[in-house]
């Protein structure tokens, strides 16, 4: 079915059209939420919130961009706001633990590449990490990222370049891997 028809049917209150629209987009939304959140429960919450908002606001969708782009804009807003709240919560928990003298032991340095790569990506500033995940991992174009994050395409490109430079620096120990 044509996407425009599907949207019109959803606007008219057709439940089966809602489910069809959800089925058409949920995998990508969930994957993006998971990549950014790194946690199954959070990814589910963010995906659900994305579709709840999308159905609520579908009347405001004017069709200037693809529906998927519009959905990904909602997804990134939901995920980034949600992660900020989670971060604040964890910081409070950490403060409480520190006050109680229960400080988690620092992990030994991990030589495994996967772990180091993960740590290096996690350590990127939020903006860099989001662009890196969307472009290099999920395959979004800079135009799509620009719309989703509300930034210029050039900003997206610049942030990706800085993200890669930072990662190259963080993973210098593994130079042999990519040179080979």
């Amino acid at each position: 079915m044509d996407e425009r028809d599907l949207i019109n049917r959803v606007r008219a209150g057709d439940g089966s059209a809602e489910r069809a629209l959800y089925d058409a987009h949920v995998d990508r939304v969930y994957r993006l939420a998971y990549r950014l959140a790194g946690d199954e429960a959070l990814a589910q919450d963010f995906t659900q919130e994305t579709f709840i908002r999308a159905f609520e606001k579908l009347d405001t969708f004017r069709g200037d961009s693809a529906l998927s782009t519009w959905l990904h804009t909602i997804t990134t807003t939901v995920v980034l706001n949600g992660l900020r709240k989670v971060k604040r919560f964890h910081r409070r928990e950490a403060d409480l633990e520190a006050a109680d003298g229960v400080v988690g032991g620092r992990r030994e340095s991990e030589p495994d590449l996967k772990v180091r790569l993960r740590e290096a990506i996690d350590a990127l500033p939020q903006g860099y990490r989001t662009v890196f995940v969307m472009h290099d991992i999920e395959g979004f174009t800079h135009e799509e990222i620009g719309v989703a994050l509300g930034v210029e395409t050039g900003t997206s490109k610049a942030q990706l370049s800085r993200a890669r430079a930072k990662l190259r620096e963080s993973l210098a120990d593994f130079r042999g891997e990519w040179i080979a």
């Binding site: 489910r19 959800y22 089925d23 949920v26 995998d27 969930y30 994957r31 998971y34 990549r35 950014l36 959140a37 790194g38 199954e40 990814a43 589910q44 995906t47 659900q48 579709f51 709840i52 159905f55 590449l113 996967k114 790569l117 993960r118 990506i121 890196f132 995940v133 290099d136 991992i137 890669r164 990662l167 190259r168 891997e177 990519w178 040179i179």
Partner: protein, 213 residues
Amino acid sequence: MMMDNDETKFDQWLQDAAKTYNAPPRPAPRDEMWAQIQAERALSARRVAVRRAWARWGLAAAAVLLVGIGIGRWTALQQGSNGGTTVGIVDTTGRALVYQLAATQYLSRTETFLTGFRADLRTGRVDAFPGQARDLLATTRLLLDSPAADDPRMQALLEDLELVLVQISQMEAGRDRRNADLITQDMDQRNVLPKLRSAIPAGPVPVRTQGAT
């Protein structure tokens, strides 16, 4: 040139290596999430309906109180101009009934509200309560300033309710669990709900709200 080559190689390597970063371990749980979405949307629709009902009730309660105040003023004028005997007695009875009606409606609503508050507290869904508490608080204060509060027992109950409603109205939506627990403890200590229930007349006619002795 060497550097550019390095960068290109790194970028290619990075794109491959990063595929494992936060990769979902299983496909999206479509049905599970859909069920949750439907449940949330139904709940949200119910909240909107409840908010509208509260707004309608608030207007009705305010109208009843205003009628009461109007009757009171008119009665006072009549008493003043007639040297006030017979007309005053008849109108005072009418005025009392209006206040009793308003008080009974208010008490029933407050009882429903506080019972719902305690129940929903267990599920953590208390977002809508601060707004509703503010609506009720306005009526509480109107009643405290009205002849409905002439009865000391009613006045004490209204003051207890005012305190509880102030606390609920100041809760931060969705993340004030500890405060909510303190509010319910306070309600228990003051016996608010039992007192409230005993002040609501069993039948349709409000006979006990003014605490006839």
